[in-house]
């Protein structure tokens, strides 16, 4: 019993310490955004890797998600004689939920793992220590550009995903289900309100912060050689994905509470 309590105590302390370290790394990295030297070139490089590099997977997932949404919903809506509002359903679903969440999950799988493995490899080979010894703050040089680039690029990737998803839904509705294209876009456009757009654009900002801070946190706390790098990479993807889905619920509830939709 005493041993079990001691184990619980150790685990709790480890958990609290991890949260504390995560908050410290994220806080210090973000505060560095306003301190000199400013690593603008590193932000652009990361924006290219994270943003431009993720465009193909975002386009593919967006298109097929919109398509399958139209395919599945059209048959259900047809039972109520409401097949004409397929565009509305696809647009609202994509913009409010699926666009931000699926894009973030894709970017998380691709980039949270990339950040954790890259920074983790640098940790275990003492490159991070070497950087500090050479007078460069790794939180400023490595972490801050990744966080900034992820937040900015995820915002635009989500917009691309939303647009491509609606196009995918339109393609399925018109070419497979024989619906009228202008009706699809008309119902999609008419149903949208500013709170829907706002909800869909606030989410990627929060999700971007989660992806980058979690990826960098696991990278910067990697221990134990190549095995440790592998462990950090897996944990970064798992934790960021779970946090994205959990925070999506919280943000949705919050936004619905404010705007009533």
């Amino acid at each position: 019993m005493t041993q079990a309590l001691a184990t619980l105590d150790r685990a709790a302390k480890k958990g609290v310490s991890a949260v504390q370290q995560y908050a410290l790394i994220s806080g210090r990295a973000l505060s560095n955004l306003f301190r000199r030297p400013f690593y603008g070139a590193d932000i652009i490089t990361q924006a290219d890797i994270i943003g431009v590099g993720s465009i193909p997977i975002v386009i593919l997932t967006g298109f097929f998600t919109g398509g399958v949404l139209a395919l599945q919903s059209a048959s259900t809506l047809a039972q109520f004689g409401a097949a004409a509002v397929t565009g509305q359903l696809v647009a609202l679903s994509m913009i409010k939920e699926l666009g931000p969440v699926l894009t973030s999950l894709m970017v998380s799988g691709r980039n949270a793992s990339g950040m954790a493995s890259e920074l983790g490899s640098m940790m275990v080979t003492e490159q991070i220590d070497a950087m500090r010894a050479l007078g460069t703050d790794p939180l400023k040089k490595l972490v801050m550009p990744r966080i900034t680039a992820t937040i900015i690029m995820l915002f635009f990737l989500t917009i691309i995903s939303d647009a491509i998803g609606i196009m995918g839904g339109a393609a399925v509705s018109v070419f497979l289900l024989g619906q009228d294209g202008s009706q699809y876009f008309h119902t999609a456009y008419q149903s949208l309100r500013y709170p829907d757009i706002l909800q869909g654009l606030v989410k990627p900002l929060i999700f971007g912060l989660i992806i980058a801070t979690i990826g960098c946190y696991y990278g910067m706390t990697t221990r134990g050689g190549t095995q440790g790098v592998g462990r950090s990479t897996t944990q970064a993807v798992v934790v960021s994905s779970v946090l994205i889905i959990a925070s999506d619920f919280v943000i949705s509830r919050f936004m619905i509470g404010i705007f009533g939709r």
Binding site: P37, E126, D129, A130, R132, A133, G135, T136, D137
Partner: protein, 277 residues
Amino acid sequence: MSLAAVAPELKQPSPGEPVVVFENVTIGFENKPVLNNISFTVKPGETRILLGPAGVGKSVLLKMADGLLRPDSGRIFVFGEEVSSMPEEDLFALRARIGIVFQEGALFDSLTVRDNVGYRLMQEHLPDEEIDRRVIEALRFVELEHTLDKLPSELSGGMRRRVAIARAIITKPDLILYDSPTGGLDPITSTTIIALVMKQRDVYRTSSLLVTHRLQDAFVLASHRFNREANAMEPLPEGHSDPQTSFLVLSEGRLVFDGSTHDLVHSDDPFLKEYLS
């Protein structure tokens, strides 16, 4: 903007004041003590060789001297500044005066040799021509000026270590920390590295703290000097050792020896006798 322009002004130590001072330093990880109550000094121009079995905490001690790790208790002074309680921002300025060679070199694997060696100068936004000139000068010191555009993965282990030395000396630091610079290298390459350490000691009179578990390297350093004309090391007369080179020995987290080469080899301590045999 150069680092010097934004860095707070550092206190200048008075002549003869120790470059490094460890005062009752203790550190542990995950409730396991690693170093216990360590005290020693490194004087200007002095080379202190830190010996001890693998895993005794030699690298930890070296990282504490550079402010990369903080002790649990005790105080560490470098150039008169207490690094054990300094904010990281101030440490960056202090580290401009310290060169460090990591155990495996710790070169940035995505940067070329030129960018690795000139990293600090690039961060200070010096003109490209000056960076190139100083990088070539540092690489010439380690006889690797032909590797300028190579990536670290294209170099042998010994060459990587020599590039790491070039990176450490490019700013002409007042203190160099060597973490097992010959670890994992063959005897011939080790001798090349030791000759470079000796050249830095005897030509530039730089204070240094060198960690090693290879006794032969330590004693070559103590018993040889660097001949500038011949550009090679040569043995000191029989029975002589370099007066600026002395030893520290760690065992089970404690400093068990702090003294000259002569005192070390004539010590009656059973552990030292066994360790040196």
